[in-house]
Amino acid sequence: MSLIEVAKLKKAYGDIDVLKQISFGVNKNDVVAMIGPSGSGKSTLLRSLVHLENIDGGSISIAGDYLVNEGIYAKPPEIKKITAKMGMVFQHFNLFPHLTVKENLEIAPKMVKKELSMVLEKRSRELLAKVGLENRASAYPAKLSGGQKQRVAIARALMMEPEILLFDEPTSALDPELTGEVLQVMKDLAEEQMTMIVVTHEMGFAKEVANKVVFMDKGEILETGKPNELFDHPKNERTKLFLQRVN
């Protein structure tokens, strides 16, 4: 059974169908790259998984539990338990500006899981080391570069020990020189077998790291495949057009 199972997911804003009966699955240890033109619904799909958006129909199940089953959402405590399995990294980092890097990492597990300070300190130190920022623990976000901020955001998501990590264009707000360091951290995570869904415009990353590419347009998944297949021999006309334009 897939770790994430989405079936006939529907979402509309007023008259506009943003997601039209989308179905797909993600297996454990998959790294899924989600590509497609602006407005195709990639962010909405990702946000629906963590319940930042309410969907209008269809089902989402995570690790076997239904977050929403044929349009009916689970009870709030259940929802909480299910979404806790996922972490999310945003395009604009969304670090808490009034907290230091260390506090940014520790506040959620401290308040939500009531974990001990000692445990949290050890974990935050390890994770900051992992993203190469062990020496910035006491800095405020305002003092970090974009790339550093995004690496802190990744570490913060990891502090909650999620099984799945979602990324919504993690590098598109960064200067080109700074995307490298963030992509490196994501590569490391992929190598450690973290299950990830990454909405991205970085075709290089999609080719190198993902084991599955999903192409979306106008609220539909038009094509899914292994990176080489999809990039080198796209079957769908719109996929072809899109790949031409971005290259």
């Binding site: 963590v50 930042l52 969304n94 808490f96 009034h98 959620a108 308040m111 939500v112 003092k143």
Partner: protein
Amino acid sequence: MSIDYMNTILRPMLEGAQVTILLFFIVIVFSIPLGFLLTLAVRSSIKPLAWIAQAYIFVVRGTPLLLQLLVICFGLPMLPGIGEFLVLPRFMAACIGFVLNYAAYFAEIFRGGLLAIDKGQYEAAQVLGMNKWQSFSRIILPQMFRVALPAVSNESITLVKDTSLLYAVAVPELLHFAQTAVNRDFSIVPYFFAGLIYLIITFILTIVLKKLEKRMKFE
């Protein structure tokens, strides 16, 4: 000007300044939380509550504080029936008038502060599993206060000067004593001393607030 004379006119003024400062602290302490509650009421999903809060803010901000003070101090006791229970000690009446007035101004400031906070902050907190209260108290509120602080500072400096309105409800303060001295001595000097005292108070306040703003910059 002799030291003696200065002493004569300064002593009552400094006493009056104490009233000014006392009022200042009372108003700050009560109107900031009250203003915050008003902000919450305005944003409340209970529509009638939101409307009442909005109407309150509109009326308070649209009429002079002086009028409000007169109403609370001399008007309320005139209400038929319940009036006799509304005879508050004068200074308390003034405090209530100031607190109710400033709460409306602070409410508007906080509303602006909340609007300035990025939606992403709420979303990040939610995705990290925090509940509404946790994310509001630990993530949103501290940022709101930081954003609102410069406006709150401005408002507090206005408050120092507004304390001079106390004289209208017969609470003797700095300016009242200055005026007494001016009348008695036929000299403009007491006004200058009063001005100087106000300047010193606002100056110190400005410095303290700037320090606070700097500390709240999170850099």
